[in-house]
């Protein structure tokens, strides 16, 4: 083929310029609706408006499980998006899917953008990094459980709303006082496994599973039936029997009871903030998650829940440059600080946390920094870095079933947790087999 040099150079220039003319599309599948959906759409619009090279197309694909499923089905059909939102429970599944995912640190390098992993908050980042310290996915929305208090309910029951509730011992006494004062719902919870077993274990520096909660290998085994967890679940079971702890459901059904003003205390994610602020017509308060003084002299740190963004394999290199640019945009202090303040999710970078403080948000909204402090005061240990367990969605289902048996009074805490561990271990062995 003969080409005159000028013509060749000209066509090359067109090729290079092509992405600028026809914008490269980056598909982003997420699981947010309502207020959170609007906020995500706003972020995407801002990004699309800021530059001309790439256009991010965000699509809502249902709840967390449904979004993950859509992503998996799409990958099988060769139609996967560039960016897929996956909840923390699906982390181990995504990590073992080599050939389906492109690690975020690689994508960032491909994009040529400077990628400094150090700027991300350790307790958040740790959940999504390999044992070598490489970030595989970008934390997007991360929250941690806290204790929400209905101050008006306390006052009605003749209790001081400012009383110390930092230990479960204190909470236990308070529950009795609330019950005696005629409060129908002294306490309720959301996400029982996440808060009362997973976070409970990390907070008391007790293993949830062996091998550093699965970070050390797929041959991990569940270990949440030790004395500390049994004591906690057993106490909760007694409270449930006495009508001091009201069980409302496996997910965040309890939120409706708390926001409706029926419950005095509520253990829920820090991200419950947006909803509680919008709906509660009573004075409320955020407190750190309580700990058992009998188990630990002081609490370790809690772990996160929420989702991260995974980049899927099988796209053009220039697409990945766009992905990197978008992920960088999401990590920028301004975007993160706004997200943190709007939603109650944790800021994922230290800079975003600092910016929020400078803007005076924590002073205007007391208690909103409790989640950040609770996660970052102590350096995470092997027991509190996070969880990396395969088939974890199913394991949580098993835990839910066994805990329900305790709340209903059908089983003792020890028997229920032993059974959950045994059943969960079978699933872990299946996962180990599938990922070989």
């Amino acid at each position: 083929m003969k080409l005159s040099t000028p013509l060749f150079a000209g066509s090359l220039a067109t090729l290079i310029a092509a992405p600028a003319v026809a914008q490269t599309e980056v598909e982003f599948w997420h699981a947010f609706t309502g207020r959170l959906g609007e906020l995500v759409a706003e972020q995407v619009e801002t990004f699309n408006g800021q530059q001309d090279d790439y256009i991010v197309v965000a699509s809502h694909k249902g709840n967390y499980s449904e979004t993950l499923n859509s992503g998996i089905a799409a990958f099988r059909a060769g139609e996967q998006p560039h960016i897929l939102m996956v909840f923390e429970v699906g982390t181990a599944t995504m990590m073992s899917a080599q050939g389906a995912i492109k690690p975020v640190y690689e994508v960032m390098q491909m994009g040529g953008a400077e990628f400094d992993q150090e700027k991300y908050i350790g307790a958040v980042k740790g959940y999504y990094t390999t044992s070598d310290g490489d970030m595989l996915s970008l934390p997007f929305n991360s929250s941690t459980p806290v204790l929400w208090v209905n101050r008006d309910k306390f006052a009605e029951a003749g209790l001081d709303p400012d009383m110390d509730l930092s230990t479960w011992e204190q909470v236990g006494d308070t529950l009795t006082q609330l019950k005696d004062a005629g409060v129908d719902c002294p306490m309720t919870t959301a996400w029982q496994s996440w808060i009362h077993l997973e976070n409970f274990s990390a907070y008391h520096d007790t293993p949830f599973a062996t091998k550093a909660n699965g970070f050390g290998g797929r041959d991990t085994e569940l270990a949440f039936n030790s004395d500390a967890q049994v004591a906690h679940i057993s106490a909760m079971g007694e409270w449930a029997q006495d009508g001091k702890f009201i069980y409302a459901g496996r997910r965040n059904e309890g939120g409706a009871n708390f926001r409706g003003g029926e419950c005095a205390m509520f253990t829920e994610s820090s991200a419950g903030y947006a909803g509680i602020k919008a709906e509660a017509d009573f004075a409320f308060d955020v407190r750190p998650l309580p700990y058992w003084e009998a188990v630990a002299s002081e609490p370790q740190n809690t772990i996160i829940g929420g989702a991260s963004l995974w980049v899927m394999e099988g796209h053009e290199d220039e697409d990945y440059a766009g992905v990197a640019s978008f992920l960088n945009f999401l990590s920028s202090p301004e975007i993160q600080a706004k997200w943190h303040q709007d939603t109650g999710y944790l800021p994922i970078t230290l800079e975003a946390g600092d910016l929020t403080r400078e803007q005076g948000f924590y002073e205007e909204n007391p208690g909103t920094d409790i989640a950040v402090k609770q996660m970052t005061t102590n350096e995470p240990t092997d027991n509190s870095k996070g969880l990396r367990l395969g088939s974890f969605d199913q394991i949580r289902g098993i835990i839910d079933e066994e805990l329900e048996a305790v709340w209903a009074g059908d089983k003792e805490a020890q028997a229920a947790l032993d059974s959950a561990v045994e059943r969960g271990n079978q699933l872990l062995r299946r996962f180990e087999q599938s990922a070989n």
Binding site: S65, L68, N69, I72, F75, R76, T93, S96, A97, Q98, G99, A100, Y247, A248, G249, R250, E253, A256, N257, G260, E262, S391, D393, Q394, G397, D400, E401, E402, E404, A405, W407, A408, D410, R423, Q426, L427, R430, Q433, S434, A435, N436
Partner: protein, 293 residues
């Protein structure tokens, strides 16, 4: 007397049944074959690799006491749904059959719920029985009954049965009514002249003549209860509390499509296939003998 039509060649009859054969092959044999094949592996969710385990998936399932318990749950659920939906439908059909004025309106209204998708029906019932804001649970509270299907296993089962049976009542009603109207009035009138009361007439004339319809509905409703109710369960209880409403098909769905354990899900489908096959054989071998055509 030979009633059957006889074809001369073999090709024309084959051609005539071909559409049905193709549909069965594409929509039944192919996927069923795939399920059997997949049940012998543990695949990873993304389809990147598959581990051969032979009958390992079946061993894993059948050694799990919780999975075995779900057979009992399924049996109870199916029997309840079938009995409730057919019983109520028959009662309503008998009433509607006797009604002369405004029967068209009643019939139309009774058929309506059939148009509601199971998952939507689930949400409707859940809303009425919601422990916090439900209308019915509120009235029950006034009567001093503390409704809590979130922790009470019997109540949860009752609720999913009612929600599943509700839409089915319309369908069954339609068939029962048609069946009742096909019974010659003269037979019933003759019995009435002989002094047979309503109940006697129903037992000795209507019920036997209605048996083909009843048998058909029995088969169809059992299949419905086995396969099409997971939408209701998913929206109302998610299989809980504990495992009180985890029926086999719901477990197939949740293990396969929520938890990505496709090997186990495929093995469960195969087990379900065998059970329904056996049930159908039993129904046709033993119950059909009592049917009068």
């Amino acid at each position: 007397m030979e009633k059957r039509v006889r074809f001369k060649g073999i090709w024309l009859p084959i051609l005539l049944v071909m559409p049905q054969l193709i549909i069965t092959a594409v929509f039944f044999f192919y996927p069923a074959g795939q399920a059997i094949w997949q049940s012998l592996f543990i695949p990873d969710p993304f389809g990147l690799s598959m581990q051969w385990v032979g009958l390992g998936n079946f061993e894993f399932l059948l050694s799990d006491p919780y999975y075995r318990a779900s057979f009992v749950t399924t049996a109870m659920f199916s029997i309840l749904v079938t009995v409730v939906s057919m019983g109520v439908a028959l009662y309503l059909a008998v009433l509607a059959d006797r009604l002369i004025k405004g029967s068209g309106t009643y019939r139309t209204l009774l058929i309506w719920p059939y148009a509601v998708a199971p998952a939507v029906a689930g949400v409707l019932w859940l809303f009425m029985f919601n422990t916090r804001v439900g209308v019915i649970s509120w009235y029950l509270g006034l009567l001093g009954y503390d409704w809590n299907h979130v922790l009470n296993e019997e109540e949860a089962m009752g609720l999913v049965v009612v929600a599943s049976a509700w839409g089915r009542i319309s369908y069954n009603f339609l068939f029962f009514l048609a069946g009742l109207q096909a019974i010659p009035k003269s037979v019933i009138e003759a019995a009435a002249i002989d002094g047979a009361h309503f109940w006697t007439r129903f037992r000795t004339i209507v019920w036997p003549l209605l048996s083909p319809t009843t048998f058909f509905l029995l088969v169809v409703n059992v299949v419905y209860a086995f396969f099409e109710t997971f939408g209701v369960i998913h929206t109302i209880t998610g299989g809980g509390p504990q495992q009180a409403t985890t029926i086999l098909v719901y477990k197939v769905y949740s293990d396969g499509f929520v938890s990505q354990d496709l090997g186990s899900s495929a093995a469960q489908s195969v087990i379900l296939l065998v059970i329904v096959g056996l049930l159908t054989i039993i129904q046709f071998k033993f119950i059909e003998r009592r049917v009068h055509y």
